[in-house]
């Protein structure tokens, strides 16, 4: 069983990860897939601000840091993936490509304003993704 978690460095995403890891620890052979997305605009900006490609990779995986610790404690198999592009679109594509059995997301992301103005990534995922979704409140 593959349980995906979408992470963006927010407190809510970390809670979602915690929940997914707890869930996975109770299911034999379950694996947690940590997902994060860098947008193209972000990449353009970061390109000149980081000394090397390697540093960027490490920096982008920072959002997984606490989840990785929890997974180690709970002895849960983990995979970390950094996707590039539009967040909701890329997560949906990935979910389909690897056949996620479940996606766990936080109820909102980094920015409270985003929720009002943009319609959050979470909402889009709940509406359009092909696999079951758990929203952690």
């Amino acid at each position: 069983m593959k349980i995906g978690v979408a992470m963006d460095g927010s407190f809510h995403a970390e809670r979602a990860a915690k929940y997914a890891i707890e869930l996975a620890s109770k299911i034999e052979g379950a694996r947690v897939e940590l997902l994060t997305v860098v947008t193209y605009d972000q990449m353009k900006k970061e390109h000149l601000l980081t000394p090397s490609h390697g540093t960027l990779e490490v920096q982008r995986k920072k959002v997984f840091k606490r989840a990785v610790e929890w997974a180690e404690e709970a002895n849960v198999e983990l995979k970390q993936t950094v996707l590039k592009g539009d967040p909701s679109k890329m997560i949906m594509q990935y979910a389909e490509a690897v056949n996620l059995d479940l996606l766990v997301i936080g109820s909102r992301g980094l920015n409270a304003l985003q929720e009002v103005v943009l319609g959050s990534v979470s909402q889009k995922l709940v509406k359009h993704i092909g696999c079951p979704v758990t929203v952690v409140k």
Partner: protein
């Protein structure tokens, strides 16, 4: 993305749609860049068409968008002001030839000598200069001028929150132009500043005297254009490589830029290069292959030919609003954080690059001085030499070369004159002056009756040392 077939037809639907979006998005910028240079819009529109179509065919980075750009426009300003538009075309042709030759010589490998701090300085200065180029249209303007510019600026930031598939500047321009026409407000329009093209670009030799004097006028500009164009193009290619997780041939891109600019000059276009903003729009819209770039050029020209009259009615303040947005996105706002976090010398290089560019109004000079400065700082940094003393073994830390030989001598003089061993485990001789210094030191010691042994020289270092020894021994 390796075969011809894949690069052109691997993503037909995505490429055509993205190409159309980019074609639309290119128009406002091309118009504005023409005004920065002070030439008819057609020079920039033809340039965008030719650059896009030819880099699609000859470029090294599939999916990258090249057209008339602000960076090249800013270099051309003084050439056009002092000598006229024919010299601009000639300089564009020469730029293409230089870029093509540089591409053959492997110029892409030189990119690694341009540090991030210099590139940051470059894009920031570019952003500031584009912004400043818009001020003449605003300062001393009327209330409607300000209103239209500011409302457009607001629109281009607000629209993307609701509509993502059509470029926001385009929606803003259509909306604001319609309002302007309806309300009958009197504003300067694009049509007031020049005629729109109504035909395909045609082959023309620039009308200039073919003399050495002409060459000396355009050569400095052509060099500056080559540097600026390649810098922005290769930077954009790097960013696209990362976004799409694919590799690209940067030297081929340089040659492609060269071919495109040469032809561009003959067909009445101003010099161009890759556009980072438009290339990102292309990738975001799903464009990946060469077809997307090709379609963007074709579609741009198609639109201009059928909609030229409508385009001529766009009010200038609206375009100014769009360009202010472009200047904001060109500026890297993360730079302020960079200044806090980066080593002091890197921050200094970044600031110096910006200041030199703003002072000289020349992007190329700023970059060249920025690279030299950072090289100097690097040398200064690495020339710090320390000596660790352990009994009679003196261990050298840090490379010994022309910049650190003085430090070496000064340090060694401090120590008492017993017999000793110099350990080069953590150091090496890098040039003649290092070999010379070491040899001189050893000879001096011997002359005073002190026994010196040099150990752990690496292969290269001992070869240098031996060579020096032999030569002096003759």
């Amino acid at each position: 993305m390796n075969t011809f077939q894949q690069q052109w037809f691997g993503n037909v639907r995505g490429d055509i749609l993205a190409g159309i979006v980019v074609g639309l998005a290119l128009i406002p910028e091309a118009l504005a860049f023409a005004f920065i240079v002070g030439v008819d819009p057609r020079y920039a529109l033809y340039a965008s068409f030719t650059m896009a179509v030819l880099t699609a065919i000859f470029g090294g980075r599939p999916g990258m968008i090249s057209a008339a750009t602000g960076a090249m426009a800013l270099v051309l300003v003084s050439l056009v002001a002092n000598h006229g538009v024919e010299y601009m075309l000639a300089a564009t042709i020469l730029t293409g030839i230089i870029q093509w030759i540089l591409g053959l010589c492997g110029v892409a490998q030189l990119m690694k000598f341009v540090p991030n701090s210099v590139m940051l300085g470059f894009v920031n200065a570019l952003g500031i200069m584009i912004f400043m180029s818009q001020l003449p249209y605003l300062i001393g303007g009327t209330i409607p001028t300000y209103t239209y510019a500011i409302v457009t600026l607001l629109l281009v930031y607000i629209i993307p929150r609701f509509i993502k598939s059509i470029p926001a500047p385009l929606i803003a321009i259509i909306l604001m132009t319609t309002i302007a026409i309806w309300s009958g407000v009197s504003l300067q329009t694009i049509g007031d500043l020049g005629t729109m093209p109504s035909t395909l670009p045609a082959f023309l030799l620039p009308d200039i005297p073919l003399t050495l004097e002409t060459l000396f006028i355009i050569l400095p500009y052509a060099f500056a254009l080559s540097i600026v164009g390649l810098l922005e193009s290769l930077l954009t290619a790097q960013v696209l490589d990362e976004m799409t997780d694919t590799e690209s041939d940067k030297n081929k891109e340089a040659r492609g830029q060269g071919i495109a600019n040469t032809v561009n000059g003959f067909f009445g276009g101003m010099a161009g290069c890759a556009l980072i903003g438009q290339s990102i729009i292309n990738v975001k819209s799903g464009g990946r292959g060469r077809l997307s770039t090709f379609v963007s050029g074709i579609f741009l020209l198609f639109l201009i030919l059928i909609l030229g009259d409508a385009v001529a009615r766009i009010p200038m303040p609206v375009l100014v609003g769009v360009m202010i947005m472009v200047s904001f996105t060109t500026f890297n706002w993360g730079s302020f954080r960079f200044l806090q976090r980066a080593p002091r010398t890197e921050s200094l290089v970044m600031l110096m690059t910006v200041l030199i560019i703003l002072y000289t109004h020349n992007l190329a000079i700023g970059v060249v001085i920025g690279v030299l400065l950072s090289a100097l700082f690097f040398v200064a940094n690495i020339s710090k030499l320390t000596i660790e003393r352990n009994g009679t073994i003196y261990r050298i830390h840090g490379p010994l070369f022309f910049a650190s030989t003085t430090a070496f001598m000064n340090e060694m003089r401090k120590y008492p004159s017993d017999d000793f061993i110099v350990d080069f485990q953590d150091s090496a001789l890098w040039d003649e002056s290092a070999a010379n210094t070491l040899w001189k030191w050893v000879t001096q010691c011997k002359a005073r009756g002190v026994q010196v042994e040099v150990i752990n020289l690496n292969e290269r270092s001992s070869a240098l040392y031996e060579k020096w020894n032999e030569e002096v021994g003759k």
